[in-house]
């Protein structure tokens, strides 16, 4: 019922794109109708969901009233207002973005709700479902819990519970290691994930975190897309756990550090995260391993009257220790090239997931400058390597350079488009972005 009303409001609003007379009296009559609706609403009690949908619908109707009554640039402004209500804040929103690199644009709906009791912690729940053009899909939910005892430093214990199910129709596999040929094969992957993370501030810019997780990953044959399926070229030897689903109990912990403790826009700042996670295969298959991740971000923005841009450097190391009797499944190995399954970019002139191995080391160096806010430009240099053995990391490196444009919303980048080249595999043009509210914190992110 409530969802139906929301849809009715959306359709109604879309109809406003048609030209309408700019009449103040129209606007007054239209807003009066909304006011009558509000008065009727006040006569009874409502659930939180009804309230949320009603308030959102009402705001959309008001935007529609104002769009109808205005002309020219003013109509455009009210159109922006409509977009703001539709896409942001509490309630049900359409989302546009990606599920995993190489699976096309995805769209869906998200629900965001925040609440707090008078004395307890604060809660924020996000849930979303998206379907991509190649029929990949994801559905999931996240609950954020933040301690409510106010502190002068505004540092609080933070807990996240999240669960998701993801079907990725197509992922690329080129073979293990840095020397893998550029002949692409594909596979699909189903992922079921449940996780609880606890992050505790420790003062001085430090934080520690602990995590428990249940993960089930099942590789799939690739649909017929003109590219060979993984089984056509690889076996369990060259693609560990090929055709083998795995189920893990994951226990992890780590620490993070930020300097200065208060984030700054100018001058030098750095953050570092280190985490160790034990992936224990619970069905008895020989695919248990321990993964260590270290990430170090650096940023420098000179404080000048004229915008001089920002220099940034990021280094990420991922190492997996499986022992002599276990191996790391190929679908849980870190990847370099384009973007990984989390959307993190590296070696951007190469295709997505181009290099894959138990150990990976990557560096990204960028210079970014505002062009005309919210649009900015950036140039970058990426370097990286993967290896079967940790000691082999760094023996050979791959490189990319490129340039692109960024799009910001409220100060944060929500999309970028770039052209990259370097290496022996040509150049690449790519776009990435996501309006999805489920954005797992880096400290809480594990294999996926």
């Amino acid at each position: 019922m409530t969802a139906g009303r929301l849809m009715a409001a959306l359709v109604l609003s879309a109809a406003c794109a048609a030209p309408a007379l700019a009449q103040t009296s129209d606007a007054v009559a239209c807003e009066t109708a909304v006011n009558r609706r509000k008065a009727a609403w006040a006569s009874s009690a409502h659930s939180w969901l009804e309230t949320m949908v009603e308030l959102q619908t009402r705001e959309l109707e008001l935007s529609r009233c104002r769009m109808r009554a205005s002309t020219g640039a003013e109509k455009l402004h009210h159109g922006e207002d409509f977009g703001r209500v539709l896409l942001t804040g509490e309630g049900i929103h359409p989302v546009v973005g990606t599920i995993a690199a190489g699976n096309g644009l995805a769209g869906g709906a998200a629900l965001t709700h925040e609440w707090a009791s008078e004395t307890g912690p604060r809660f924020r729940a996000d849930a979303d479902a998206r379907l991509s053009v190649n029929r990949s899909w994801v559905t999931g939910a996240r609950l954020n819990i933040v301690g409510s005892s106010a502190s002068l430093s505004n540092s609080h214990i933070h807990a996240i519970a999240d669960a998701s199910y993801t079907h990725i129709a197509e992922l690329s596999y080129f073979g293990p290691g840095l020397g893998a040929a550029a002949d692409e094969t594909r596979f699909g992957l189903n992922l079921a994930l449940g996780r609880f993370s606890l992050i505790v501030p420790a003062g001085g810019g430090f934080e520690v975190f602990g995590q428990v997780e249940g993960l089930r990953a099942a590789p799939l044959a690739s649909p017929d897309s003109g590219v060979p399926s993984i089984e056509a070229r690889f076996s369990d030897v060259s693609a560990p756990a090929l055709g083998q689903a795995t189920t893990y109990a994951v226990l992890g912990g780590g620490a993070g550090w930020r300097y200065p403790a208060d984030a700054v826009l100018t001058g030098y700042s750095t953050t570092a995260h280190a985490a160790v996670r034990r992936y224990q295969e619970t069905a008895g298959h020989p695919y248990s391993f321990t993964r260590s991740d270290v990430t170090w971000d650096n940023q420098y923005t000179p404080e000048t009257t004229v915008d001089a841009g920002t220099l940034s450097a990021r280094v990420h190391l991922s190492a997996s220790a499986a022992g002599s009797t276990n191996r790391v499944p190929f679908y849980l190995m870190p990847t370099l090239g384009g973007a990984d399954v989390n959307g993190e970019s590296s070696l951007r002139s190469y295709r997505d997931y181009r290099f894959r191995a138990p150990h990976a080391l990557s560096g990204q160096f960028e210079y970014a400058h505002t062009v005309y806010d919210p649009i900015g430009m950036f140039v970058f240099y990426d370097v990286g390597t993967v290896a079967d053995q940790f000691g082999d990391l760094g023996r050979s490196l791959k490189h990319s350079v490129g340039a692109g444009l960024t799009f910001r919303l409220g100060g944060a980048i929500f999309g970028q488009i770039y052209y990259a080249w370097g290496g022996a595999e040509g150049s690449r043009f790519n776009f990435s972005g996501n309006s999805n509210p489920i954005d797992i914190d880096k400290a809480a992110r594990s294999a996926f």
Partner: protein
């Protein structure tokens, strides 16, 4: 008077703009200890709810969980709150401040309206209440627009909202803000927003290609510590809970005590460098009332240069009153009754750093807005060196006598008496005829009448 003033006592003007709380809700109850403050006491005022039951002002506001739905603060909502009836295209003559409860029930549902009448006891907000006691509390600072956040904040940045009453990010307007005007005058102005994830309210788009106008709160603290504050700093609190940090903006239903702590963080940052502190004026103000009750009638003003057609509004009436406190080592404890609005901010910046606001300000409301540099009570060689004790509740720091019951009742108070009498005539005419509302003239008589009437209204029919 030569302009700009370049008063040596204020080399740095810092404005912290919080979110969506009214004066009465936050510091109205300070009237009990600061009688000169045009505040409130529990039971002083009522609003009728949707079914006609009076809902009285109370002193039991809580830090969070009070507002399951965000109180309305769109133009239509604020009109209902101020005038008691829905907007029908024509402005009523005088606001009655009688529709807050009804308005909230239009957001949250029946019987939920009392939430907007709940006010904070001063001891619940130690930082704000202490600064209000120790420095200048402005009890006639009104939001610029009877509407939401962005147009109100636009008045602080531009001296106008360009005829806008809505919340669309207005990045097509390339109008000079106070920051650009300062730069042309050889001075520096900066917006410090809390974090990258919190962002700035609207200004990212408006300040095209001028990243040097921005910093984060960490940059502000660093600038304070090194005594490198720009001439003008505008601070934005955290607008949302993020990871392990709580929102600090106090927007309903965010944690209000965390916002109070944020005010203290700003104050402490300025105090962290003694030389900087002696040259800095801090203004703590809220952008709008957020749908929460306030009893002061927003004054009519001359129209702005721009008007709105949808809905029709000439910007000739201020919005609901908001809390405002001005802090400086050259300001002694005082209650300031001059009328201010957010255009007073760029007007004061202009007066101090650029030139005569009557000629240098770009828009009418800013040209006419009162400025607040006259609040200094000390010479430059005699700054205050004391530090307020935020941990202890202080009382009696004002020397003025408390009002007596013989003080005349306000027009709003008398309206309330008439309203209650009309209600009683409907539900208990026999009892109503025993009362004498026409004889009510003083505060004490009005309080007595209201108390009697409320008891009659709520008593058991049996």
């Amino acid at each position: 008077m030569p302009f700009p003033l370049n008063d040596a006592r204020v080399e740095h003007l810092v404005v912290l703009m919080m979110e969506n709380r009214s004066f009465d809700h936050m510091i109205g109850l300070l009237k009990d200890e600061l009688p000169d403050v045009r505040g409130v006491a529990p039971g002083d005022f009522t609003n009728l709810d949707t079914v006609g039951t009076p809902v009285a002002l109370t002193d039991d506001a809580v830090y969070q969980g009070q507002f399951p739905a965000d109180p309305g603060h769109d133009f239509n909502d604020v009109y209902l709150q101020m005038y008691g009836t829905p907007f029908n295209g024509v402005f009523a003559r005088t606001p009655t401040m009688s529709g807050f409860v009804k308005s909230y029930e239009q957001q949250a549902g029946v019987s939920r309206g009392a939430a907007v009448m709940r006010c904070f006891k001063p001891e619940r907000l130690p930082t704000l209440a202490t600064l209000a006691r120790e420095y200048a509390i402005c009890d006639q600072w009104f939001s610029s627009v009877p509407g939401p956040t962005l147009p109100n904040r636009a008045f602080a940045h531009f001296g106008t909202s360009f005829g806008r009453l809505d919340m669309s990010p207005d990045f097509f307007r390339a109008q000079p803000s106070i920051y650009q005007r300062l730069r042309r005058a050889g001075k520096k102005g900066k917006i410090y927003y809390y974090s990258q994830s919190s962002g700035t309210q609207g200004m990212t788009f408006l300040l095209a290609d001028q990243r040097d106008f921005f910093g984060l709160f960490g940059d502000f603290k660093k600038a304070c510590k090194n005594n490198e504050l720009p001439a003008y700093s505008f601070i934005e609190p955290a607008y949302s809970d993020n990871a392990g940090e709580l929102a600090t903006d106090q927007h309903p239903d965010h944690n209000v005590l965390q916002g109070d702590n944020f005010i203290r963080q700003v104050y402490n940052a300025i105090r962290s460098n003694d030389d900087g502190w002696k040259r800095t004026m801090l203004v703590v103000v809220w952008d709008e009332h957020g749908g929460l009750f306030d009893h002061e009638i927003p004054p009519a003003v001359l129209p702005d240069d721009f008007s709105s057609t949808a809905p029709p509004f000439a910007f000739d009436r201020l919005g609901v009153r908001v809390p405002a406190v001005i802090v400086s080592p050259y300001i002694d404890a005082q209650v300031e009754h001059s009328v201010y609005e957010h255009a007073s901010i760029p007007a004061t910046v202009t007066e101090q750093f650029i030139g005569d606001p009557r000629t240098e300000s770009l828009h009418s409301r800013e040209k006419r807005a009162n400025t607040f540099l006259h609040l200094f009570t000390r010479d430059i060689d005699n700054p205050r060196t004391d530090t307020p004790d935020f941990g202890a509740v202080k009382t009696g720091s004002r020397s003025r006598a408390r009002p007596t019951g013989a003080d005349p009742a306000s027009s709003l108070h008398l309206n309330q008496v008439r309203e209650l009498q009309a209600l009683l005539m409907r539900i208990d005419p026999a009892f109503a005829r025993t009362l004498e509302p026409q004889a009510v003239a003083t505060e004490a008589e009005a309080n007595m009448f209201i108390s009697t009437a409320m008891n009659a209204i709520h008593r058991d029919p049996a």
